[in-house]
Symmetry: C2
Subunit: 393 residues, 2 copies
């Protein structure tokens, strides 16, 4: 179940011709009693026009609807690109208002993904918005069509949901390359029918993103368009005015974000292995993340895993580039359960490591504290080089 | 001309059997009136045994000789690995002393390169040291043999030299993968027959390395064994006790380091393009370096260049991940002379860019200051993935 798993949302995805084939424009509308919204955006200085626009939309904590398109990032397109985004939001607001919903363009977020540095085909996009608005539905099919419309080099759509007693959390995401570190080239929308204060929604979203999307690091490349948008309709049939239990809600949002994150990494461009780099016994959680990320970003480590070579020297050399405080002589490393490095030196026989499965688990024990963190990444393969050299994306 | 271009040095390179074929043990001896030496080492926490040893050797600013081997990095090999390095230095000191030179092991540096996490074959290494000591010569052939003996995945040996009026600077280097950022998986030795105070030699070497080897960033991976060693014999026939002109000397050392750096990048693992990423009009030199390095480390940029795609969106998205202060709307980018990005947006037609030559010049104008810096890198290719996945190095 997708973004329409939560009550109070309608969605649609249509084929507007922005990309060579398939759906490319999605619309999601919150028709519930509350319009609370929160978002996390890329920190890239070259934030795309839709990011600049949506930051303004979200500044008052409200979003009534969001338009998402693939087939063009609308990034580095100057003031004209920003006008395009603005016009897109205006158009949906007009259509929804004409249908009796009284929506302001300044409450319509926009997300775009695709090639940087090219203007969008506005005729195609606006006609797609029209068509999508006509097809809006609470059905699961609408959520799936929306999830399909945001795909770029993704091989399949990504949706997730969690049902709790008094609320539901749904979600969709896209992302395949340029996956890091403030999120990935990714768009994600989280919906909920929970009754939740905007400040709580904002806090829960930021914390969930911190430990999920922000710990996916496919290729170390940060995008200009990353957006995770959360919208709360308050439309659950058993909603209570007092709202939901915050702990339960945070768990559910985090679970949906985790689920989507794993789907993104499992479908990362050209990947043959999904790799969990877990660092434990670190001085702090930030240190553990730093160590795991350094390994996740090592091209030499990532090519070794592609070649099914448990080359722990490349793991240690990456760990050693960080400024984290640890004793090199007390570091142990296991790959898929075999402790091939003990005390910063030679451990068990590396030929005992089996790397034939898709999932690879790297465990780095720093013996320097009580904190841990895991970064999800993937190997560096011929297919990654092929996809990113043969096509302009 | 190589390390023997400078007067007062003898060198040799022999085949000891540490690697499957070819020379793998080199010895270089300073027989001049001065033994001043300086070095720059990796900052990796998992510094290899030869790095730990050579740091001690260099702590008094003197080195009489250096042994270098390929076929094994002697990194992450524990106290036993350190003993191996110590024994290697002892052996050469004994041999040289027996021949009448009175050399202490604590004045013999050691450099190793190859696979991390395996002990060296000491029998082969020590017999190689014997053989090399017997073959020491001031001839150019000795310098070339030494340069060959330090090769790993290098496709050819790297030597360079500069002759000035009252001194000569020679050099050799190896390095092919794990090339960054504090130097690269590289070993380099710079020799000079200049009369130069140790403090001056040290200062000149550090500054030269900062703007040469440290600005080569092939794959973002920092090694455990990086060493640049400079040795001064004071043996130039026209040497004057007052020493050389420091400015001239610095220029010569920098030129040799630049020459070797370019050779390393030109021969980087699997590279099809050598890429100069030059950032100008930056607030500071450090900022310019940060921006250039961010681009040089972008796998998406590097695969695009491999595919001969002047994808400036991937350049800007990498620039935008830095914390350098600039106005995104004032950034221009040229690739091979064509300004395909103007004012952070669309510039000249990207189809005008010709990427068929080996050399690619990226120029990023931040319009935010007066400083500049260039990082040398290369593209990310199928051959890189192949070399680093099919072989354990």
């Amino acid at each position: 179940m997708s973004v329409t798993a939560a009550h109070g949302f309608t969605a649609a995805g249509v084929t507007a011709g922005l990309k060579s084939s398939g759906r490319d424009v999605a619309v999601l509308v919150n028709s519930g009693p509350t319009k609370n919204a929160a978002a996390v955006f890329t920190t890239n200085s070259f934030a795309a026009a839709p990011v600049l626009w949506s930051r303004q939309v979200l500044s008052d904590g409200r979003a009534d609807a969001v338009i998402l398109n693939s087939g063009g990032a609308n990034a580095c397109t100057g003031p004209e690109g920003f006008q395009d985004t603005h016009a897109t939001a205006e158009r949906l607001a007009e259509i929804l208002s004409a249908a009796g919903s009284d929506v302001s363009a300044t409450d319509v977020a926009v997300c775009s993904t695709g090639l940087i540095g090219e203007r969008l085909n506005m005729e195609a996009l606006l006609s797609g918005v029209h068509q999508a608005a006509e097809e809006l539905t609470t059905d699961a099919a609408g959520g799936v069509a929306a999830a399909e419309a945001i795909m770029t080099t993704d091989s399949h759509y990504k949706v997730a949901s969690v049902e709790a007693e008094r609320f539901t959390v749904g979600g969709m995401a896209k992302g395949a390359g340029m996956l890091a570190p403030g999120m990935a080239t990714m768009l994600a929308v989280i919906t909920t029918d929970a009754v939740i204060a905007q400040a709580d929604l904002d806090a829960v979203l930021h914390e969930a993103v911190r430990v999920s999307f922000n710990r996916a690091d496919s290729d170390g490349c940060m995008s200009t368009n990353d957006t995770v948008l959360a919208m709360a309709s308050g439309a659950h049939p058993e909603a209570e005015e007092a709202g939901v239990d915050l702990g339960d809600f945070k768990d559910a949002v985090t679970a949906v974000c985790d689920d989507l994150t794993r789907q993104l990494i499992d479908d990362a461009e050209g990947a043959a292995h999904t790799i969990e780099v877990r660092t434990v016994a670190a001085p702090s959680e930030a240190d553990a993340e730093t160590v795991s990320r350094a390994v996740a970003r090592s091209n030499l480590f990532k090519t070794a895993i592609f070649g099914q070579d448990p080359n722990w020297g490349r793991i240690l050399s990456a760990v050693g580039t960080t400024d984290v405080a640890f004793d090199p002589h007390r570091v142990d490393v296991a790959v898929n359960g075999v402790w091939i490095c003990r005390g910063g030196g030679i451990g068990e026989d590396r030929s005992l490591v089996d790397l034939s499965d898709r999932l690879v688990q790297v465990l780095i024990d720093l013996n320097a504290g009580d904190s841990e963190a895991t970064i999800l990444t993937n190997d560096l393969t011929h297919d990654y080089v092929h996809e990113n050299s043969a096509y302009s994306t």
